[in-house]
């Protein structure tokens, strides 16, 4: 008899991607073979997202597609949309199981107990970090290891459905983080990207004076690591120590992602964000002053209920004035059971579209200027993938995607690259020399994967 097959589709953030990978290993440990999502499978898992209305829509689309193309499969829906709206998903014809966030690592058991009735399984969201039962195997041919160190959030931003889906903030212990990081480094990963729902709150629940800065320092000291990168950190969580760590440690990437959401004080207050535009401004300026060429990104939301033209102008003026290097722009969509959903009429769609377009243009412009400044500089690039035969792409530590000539043997290695060409869409350069900060762990299978 052939082995049972399972396919995955992930909607949403890096955390979801990380958790889908972990889930994949849980299934593989049970003897399943993983197949691509468009191929027939015995079990189809859709890991959903509910951060915006569009994520809900996309999630439902993927569920319907799975049911259509795999009428005989057990279709399993999990993730944040499943946690928050299980009944809506269970009513889609063909869905077998709807499994909330806390129960998802039990999926193989739940699949074997499925009895043909659309069944919802929600476990209480845990108060302490839940380790995945999967083996720590090597994961696909990647270069940057996303490492989940935290889950949940104790803030109560008015627009946010994710904290409802994820529960209280809880941190992973150093023992568990270290074990997974070492495993990833032994498997050949060079860069560790810390992920969580609210990374800045890391350690608060562990009670042993652990914090994000300490975690970053300990990870950067592990043998074999080339880089440690932060993902999004809330502005009020960026401490002096953290700035110092990023400014001074050669292996910690000069890269901050700081959600702003709005540059208008009254809007921030209604959003229940715990900082004001002045705090944000001084934080970003201080980062730019102390960390030369630091990559600094921001999330911005347009069209929050009651956002006036004046509010929007304040946001745009603030963004223009700040040394940000890229923007992620979102259009507000009301999420059920959130405070903002009760805050009166939405900003008309055409207004939201126009505001969003204006900020996207601004972001492009800022990013272009940042990359122009890099022209002529020599930056360290960790090559990840082959964009075309003989042409590699990778990230600089300050978050510029750079292309240069190279062979697939150069993947997953760090090179000094002199930036010589910046266009709207691309940044290109020439390799000068490889960086040997530590002995490079070789990974012969990387090239075979590239050929295969």
């Amino acid at each position: 008899m052939s082995r049972a097959t399972v396919s995955f589709e992930t909607v949403g953030c890096r955390l979801n991607q990380y958790e889908s990978d972990a889930l994949e290993r849980v299934f593989v440990d049970r003897g399943y073979t993983v197949v691509p999502f468009h191929r027939p499978a015995d079990v189809c898992v859709i890991n959903t997202c509910t951060v915006t209305g569009r994520s809900d829509h996309r999630s439902r689309q993927m569920v319907r597609r799975a049911c259509r193309t795999n009428p005989d499969a057990t279709v399993v829906v999990t993730g944040c949309y499943a946690q928050n709206h299980p009944a809506a998903l269970a009513s889609i014809p063909g869905v077998g199981l709807v499994v909330g966030n806390a129960a998802k690592m039990r999926l193989p058991d739940l699949v074997s107990g499925a009895n043909g009735r659309a069944t919802v399984v929600l476990d209480p969201l845990p108060e302490i970090f839940q380790e995945s039962p999967a083996s720590r195997g090597r994961m696909g041919g990647r270069t940057r290891a996303f490492l989940k160190v935290q889950d949940g959030c104790d803030m109560s931003c008015a627009y946010c459905a994710v904290r409802i889906a994820r529960g209280r903030s809880r941190s992973r212990t150093w023992a568990a983080v270290q074990a997974e990081a070492r495993g990833a480094l032994e498997a050949g990963y060079r860069e560790i990207v810390l992920t969580g729902v609210n990374l800045g709150s890391y350690g608060r629940d562990l009670g042993d004076s652990a914090d994000l800065t300490g975690l970053v320092g300990r990870l950067a000291a592990l043998p074999g690591v080339a880089r440690v990168r932060l993902s999004s950190v809330e502005p009020q969580e960026v401490t002096e120590d953290l700035i110092e760590m990023v400014a001074s440690h050669p292996k910690v990437c000069r890269h901050f992602h700081l959600p702003l959401q709005s540059g208008s004080e009254p809007v921030l207050r209604r959003m229940n964000r715990s900082y004001d535009p002045d705090h944000y401004t001084s934080l970003v300026r201080s980062l730019a002053d102390r960390i030369p060429d630091c990559g600094i990104g921001a999330d911005v939301m347009v069209g929050f209920p009651g956002e006036t033209e004046t509010d929007f102008r304040r946001t745009r003026t603030l963004l223009e004035s700040l040394p940000l290097t890229y923007l992620h722009v979102f259009s507000y969509s009301p999420r059920p059971n959130t405070a903002a959903a009760e805050m009166g009429p939405p900003v008309p769609a055409h207004v939201r579209r126009a505001r969003s377009q204006a900020l996207r243009d601004l972001g492009k412009d800022k990013n272009r200027r940042f990359r122009n400044r890099a022209a002529g500089q020599t930056l360290e690039v960790l090559f990840e993938t082959e964009a075309a035969p003989g042409r590699l792409v990778g990230l600089t530590d300050n978050y510029i995607r750079v292309e240069a000539d190279g062979t697939c043997e150069d993947r997953n290695r760090v090179f000094r690259v002199r930036i010589d060409r910046v266009t709207e869409a691309r940044t290109a350069g020439c390799v000068e020399a490889e960086v040997h900060r530590k002995a490079v762990l070789t990974r012969p299978e990387v090239c075979e994967e590239a050929k295969g």
Binding site: H85, P86, A87, A88, A90, S91, I92, P93, V95, A102, A103, L110, N115, R117, A118, T119, V120, V121, L122, D123, P124
Partner: protein, 451 residues
């Protein structure tokens, strides 16, 4: 805005179901639902059903089909099955027709049940059949707000599920593995009830003796609840004879609010039957616990559960059981005929006992136990007892009625204003189920609050 929605809960079965219905009622109200005066006027009808015996489950299915008949063309109202029967349906062990049911909600789904029902109102049922909410093995479904006026006597769960696997019992398959509720939450809930006016709490667990939250065991629960002001009485159910310790008995003695009442389910007084049931103790172990309880807790009332006709209960074994029950001289007992339940080990055992034999044995057992109950009652005459006044006597509204610390029902004369207070009553006469007495006035010879 939308008109107020209403709910109706019908509860069948044990204290745990009664407690869960109360939690669900609170949750419905926190979602803005109002209690409906009757099922036919509700938007959501919830049947919290029991599957401990065949007859109990059959009754649940009959109610569901009756409620499904109330549905109009628009599918309104929503009919929801919950309780142990639902948990067994989730596992494919149900013994009825789910086609008229909109939602099947296992016990371990109550944390989010009302949120889901709230979202489901007005949604037409899809082709996937009833929405099935599976039990979570980790849910303790108790984080529901206790607010406002509370009853004089209230239940509070300290754990969920059961790790014993008694051969006859559906509870482990229906309620999942044992998990203790955090002590902090128990204290918070009792304190909230006390603020709302509750004076007596009954701590509920399938096996209270294996309670554990970090370093705290069941004794710590008793001690912590004993510290909560304005709770006058603490009871619990059930302990397991196998796990009962002298330490618990000594803690009961040391905590002045814990009542001298022990409900200690024996099930059978025949050692081979106890072994086949998988109870984990012998009659001699059980006798040891009872002797110790009577020594440590003078005046303790001991009640029990007894089952006749378990597979393999021969005439000799039944006679032995009867003798043991007589020897134990229980103050009260709940007696049952064994009922085979699908999916349990006992339902597949050889030596099933014919129905008429079970009936005859039950009658004999009742006669023996009634003698013991009467003897226990007669010992009360002439004694003083503290009575928590619950209300007016249902049969004679001129009388007040309440319970002693040993859980005996007492009626006496007094003004309505005494309802909700503790009174000292001298017992003058006894019937099998109720005692009659006269109130001892405050300040009269030795009329204290508590012993």
């Amino acid at each position: 805005m939308c008109p107020p929605r209403s709910f109706f809960i019908e509860t069948l079965g044990c204290q745990m179901n009664v407690y869960d219905s109360e939690l669900l009622r609170r949750r419905f109200q926190s979602y803005g639902f109002r209690p409906a005066p009757s099922a036919d006027r509700a938007d959501v009808i919830l049947v919290n059903a029991c599957s401990i015996r065949k007859r109990a489950e059959a009754r649940a299915w009959a109610r569901l089909s009756q409620y499904a008949g109330l549905k109009g063309d628009n599918g309104h109202p929503l009919v929801v099955l919950c309780g142990c029967v639902a948990s067994r349906v989730v596992k494919g062990l149900g013994e009825g027709e789910v086609s008229g049911v909109d939602v099947v909600a296992g016990c371990g789904s109550y944390d989010h049940l009302v949120a889901i029902l709230d979202a489901q109102l007005g949604v037409r049922r899809g082709p996937n059949g009833p929405l099935v909410l599976a039990d979570s093995p980790t849910a303790t479904y108790h984080e529901m707000p206790a607010a406002g006026e509370a009853p004089l006597r209230a239940f509070v769960s300290i754990s969920r599920g059961c790790d014993s696997h008694c051969a006859y019992c559906v509870v482990p398959s229906a309620r999942g593995p044992h998990r203790s509720r955090p002590l902090r939450q128990i204290i918070d809930e009792v304190a909230a009830l006390a603020t709302g006016g509750t004076q007596e709490v009954t701590l509920l667990g399938q096996n209270v003796n294996i309670y554990r939250d970090g370093a705290a065991g069941f004794c710590e629960v008793l001690r912590a609840v004993n510290e909560i002001p304005s709770i006058a009485r603490i009871r619990f159910t059930s302990p397991h004879p196998r796990d009962m310790t002298g330490e618990v008995l000594r803690t009961m003695a040391a905590c002045e609010r814990v009542c001298e009442h022990l409900h200690l389910p024996l099930q059978s007084g025949s050692d081979p039957v106890l072994e086949a049931m998988g109870r984990g103790y012998t009659t001699s172990d059980y006798r040891g616990v009872v002797d110790e309880a009577r020594r440590i807790l003078p005046g303790v009332a001991i009640s029990t559960d007894l089952m006749v006709g378990f597979p393999g209960e021969t005439d000799d074994r039944f006679e032995a059981s009867l003798r043991f029950v007589e020897e134990m001289a229980f103050d009260a007992a709940f007696t049952f005929k064994y009922s085979p339940r699908p999916g349990t080990a006992a339902s597949r055992l050889p030596g099933q006992v014919p129905e008429e034999v079970k009936g005859a044995r039950l009658e004999r057992l009742l006669r023996v136990q009634n003698r013991a109950t009467d003897a226990s009652n007669r010992r009360l005459v002439g004694q003083r007892a503290d009575v928590l006044v619950e209300g007016l006597d249902r049969r004679k509204p001129s009388l007040l009625t309440g319970r002693t610390r040993t859980n005996r029902l007492v009626s006496f004369e007094g003004p309505d204003s005494l309802v909700g207070t503790l009174q000292t009553v001298r017992i003058e006469s006894v019937g099998r189920w109720i005692a009659f007495g006269r109130r001892v006035e405050e300040g009269a010879a030795g009329g204290g609050e508590r012993p």
